[in-house]
Amino acid sequence: MSRLQKTFADARAEGRTALICYLMAGVPSPEDFVKMAVACLEGGADVLEIGVPFSDPLADGPVIQQAAVRALENKVTPPMVMDMVRELRRRTDRPIVLMGYYNPIFRMGEERFVDACRNAGADGLIVPDLPLHESISLRHTCLEKGLDLIQLTTPLTPDDRNSELVQATSGFLYLVTRTGVTGGGSVMAEDLRKMISRTRSVDRHVPLAVGFGISRPEHVRAAREMGADGVIVGSALVGLTLNGSSADDLKDAVRRLASACDAERPQIQ
């Protein structure tokens, strides 16, 4: 059982929704980043998702774009991200997932990149511009090396493709709850309900984590209410790493989200 699987299983057992906190590697600075990540863990994050900065983050909204610019200004490179993961792995046993665009992975070489992830102690990988049909070789490598390659599904994904994604994903399935990019907007309740139910009808067990547009405790509660196993919070937290907030501020924000994660779960009709 991988760390990710275990985390979701534990959370489910405890009646909790797992909280996945996204931060951009090397932001606000390579040193403070680790403090920020630790603050997330202390605030109650179940999983850390760490962005690998890329010059052209086309799936991201303004906040995360800005964080990528900051990271690149800070001269963060993929090998440095691996070092940061290694550093964090020394401090926590919770799962660490990297989120990175494909070109830096391709550039390093898929196998070398996956090895580096594993060696650093990462558990999973999300590649937002690598759709299922382009990910065959990377999936193969990840499987072989024991890294979870997480697939994304969206409200526009047709049912048959959704089923393939469910089968192909590893660790959890990332439900993109609204069209568009990361950050801003709000969860579309109706979409999410449909996405969860059609996915459950294919696989009753795969952990479902909801992302894109989750920033406040009420979003978390809404997702939880609809049966999500996890929520991913990105822009809201990244924003705090950009605007001069302290690690404690971040910890508080995470704590508020985390407490929404084990709020009493109302009956699903």
Partner: protein, 390 residues
Amino acid sequence: MNSRFGIYGGQYVPEILVPALQDLEREYLVARNDPVFLGELESYNRHYGGRETPLYFARRLTERCGGAKIYLKREDLCHGGAHKFNNVMGQALLARRMGKKRLIAETGAGQHGTATAMAAAVLGLKAEIYMGERDVARQRMNVFRMKLMGAKVHEVSSGSKLLKDAINEALRDWSGSVEHTYYLLGTAAGPHPYPTMVRDFQSVIGREIRQQLQAAEGGLPDLLVACVGGGSNAIGTFHPFIEDTGVRMLGAEAAGEGLETGHHSASLSIGEVGVLQGCKSYLLQDEHGMIHEAHSIAPGLDYPGVGPEHSFLKDLKRAEYVGVTDKEALESFITLSQVEGIIPALESAHAVSAGMREATSMSKDQVVVITISGRGDKDLETVFDMGVVE
């Protein structure tokens, strides 16, 4: 439909866009074989766009070079002033056919944005154009032109605030609007099926060259020359001749201030394979896969990637690619103006430079065709400000 050219191409996009691209591929496959669609396109090309464009024997340029006969394929005479028309009209008709009422597009200097605004206007569609903040500032008149035709222009302030970032932003918009919006990509790059589709729409250039040269010279050209930004006018010129192994093909890339300076856009000449904005191809990038800013005096060549089919042709050695510096392009911009009374786009001036160089060393019974992808009116301010004339 094959989504790749050898190892190049593909569909490296967020999952959210996959259904739209699959839809597009499906619809395009039907449309490209539908006589009604093809007839409509042919009619707009002809009556609205001014096709066919002439294949002009440039007598004085030929004499100047003293070698092969030089013909110019006059895409500068297309409505809107560039080959961009061919692609935009085809895609806009496809969008209408698909029932999409809103077009979005990226633009660098404004050529493709203007063309999209124009196609939207004539078909009664809405157009919204993404354009980098730095480009908006440099290209006031093109921004005005788009607005005049009823398009909305979004200034993009992310990244380098240039073309590449406008594409990112357009893709972001599309991710959120894909159900009712058509993304009208401006060159033969991006995710499948764009490289194939744009190439098909631009191939009217090469098909016409073939027929026209047959009429003029009774044969095939010895050499085709076109400039390569994203690669659409070049692939449109080359593609209909791919099987004719006697026809050499030469793509002129922007060597900017020189290939050795790092200020250029020569992704084929000295880029390395990578994935950007949906497709695998040669790219300007650093050791970690971060994309470099491109540079060229010609705004339309100022892109760090290139269409995947060119990467394939390069590896196959079926086409050659050379760098032409800003300075060389400027020289042939002036030469063509003075010798033929044709002011080429600075992009096209790269092709003219490469074509002249080749023609000079070829024999007088050989034929070089240079595609003049657009007219230079848009570039007059730039050249004026350089103070090189008078």
